[in-house]
Symmetry: C2
Subunit: 220 residues, 2 copies
């Protein structure tokens, strides 16, 4: 097991709340990675026995749901009237991607765990409301809702993977052994896939999707 910084026992030891626990859990994940989050380590960080946490969460799954809610608090939900509907949606999607950038170890939770708490329903509602305001009927709203969700989830994860060090991987990497003549197309494209280009690539994909949305909205 790799790098895990010594856990700083909280001096304050304020009374435990779900919010404080989720906050500490996210801090631990941000610092040391998702695998480093354990009930024992989290307890230690909060100055408490691991089992104390079970008084606030039924188990680790519920704790992770609370961390997801904390993450989603950082997304800027579409607010009715603040801007034209599709602009609201785009801003929201861009803010969602920032969660991936700011919490590379935690973001994956948002892609493989279901959204099923009150606050996540609120997010869906604001998102779908903006799509309705843009003129999409429910079937079409469902399609663009999923398309955008797929895109921003996949982009977040892929960009994190591109940025991450992966010490446990099979040694031999694209950077170290240049593709050369065996992989000419890879060699030609690789320079355009550097980390510094990922923001522009993300926006390009959004352009493609929003172009289609504008056209679909104009058709009705």
């Amino acid at each position: 097991m790799p790098r895990r910084t010594p856990v700083r026992r909280s001096a304050a030891k304020a009374t435990l709340t779900r919010e404080a626990i989720a906050e500490a859990a996210l801090a631990l994940i941000d610092a040391d990675g998702l695998e480093a989050l354990s009930m024992r380590r989290l307890g230690t960080a909060l100055g408490v026995e691991a089992m104390a946490l079970y008084h606030h969460f039924r188990g680790k799954g519920e704790l992770l749901d609370a961390v997801m809610e904390r993450l989603l608090d950082e997304a800027e939900l579409p607010v009715r009237g603040s801007a034209p509907p599709l602009e609201r949606v785009r801003h929201f999607v861009e803010s969602y991607r920032k969660i991936a950038i700011n919490h590379p170890h935690a973001f994956i939770l948002l892609t493989y765990r279901r959204f099923n708490t009150e606050r996540t329903f609120e997010l869906y509602e604001r998102f779908l409301e903006a799509l309705a305001d843009a003129g999409f009927d429910p079937p079409l709203a469902a399609r663009f809702f999923r398309l955008l969700g797929y895109y921003v989830g996949g982009a977040g994860l892929a960009d994190i993977a591109s940025r991450a060090a992966q010490p446990d991987a099979t040694p031999v990497s694209l950077e170290k052994s240049p593709p050369g003549e065996r992989y000419p197309c890879v060699a030609a494209v690789a320079p355009h896939l550097r980390v510094r280009n990922l923001d522009a690539i993300f926006e390009f994909g959004l352009d493609v999707i929003f172009e289609a949305m504008k056209k679909a909205a104009a058709r009705r």
Copy 2:
């Protein structure tokens, strides 16, 4: 810790190879989930001590890379000349999504672990070759390469999450407590997001992306 079927000790106990180990690992993941894959359980399944596996893989990370290669064997790579370039790409992307459907517990490996083995380079090469054949220069190929990768990765994960039971989640789910008047847009769209619609939704998103690719290809 949930359901883990008793491990069937292999009768044959053929000599250990990387391929046989990766195969058994994938079978274990398919049956019981990614968290159920442990070196100990895998050893037992193969009729061998856990430590024997370390003679073939440096650690669990390398083993997971081998499982990824096994998964990617199920993708149908674009083959030059078999069809027009964009059709080749679309067929490949659709076959990639089938990996998610067929290996819901393992697919996530392909989204958060980097591709950095020979066989994954081969996949990149065939993919990018088809994009080059379609007429895209390297910068544009890079953009559509990522766009498609984001989409198919995100779609695979999201569809898996939609289909999966999640016993450790916070109880209260969209299906159980109908949104009603608090979430009217969710209520309107939810019927169109049922599992049986996910295939059509995936194809809709591909239509959007390939429409843009056709237009971009025509411009040169």
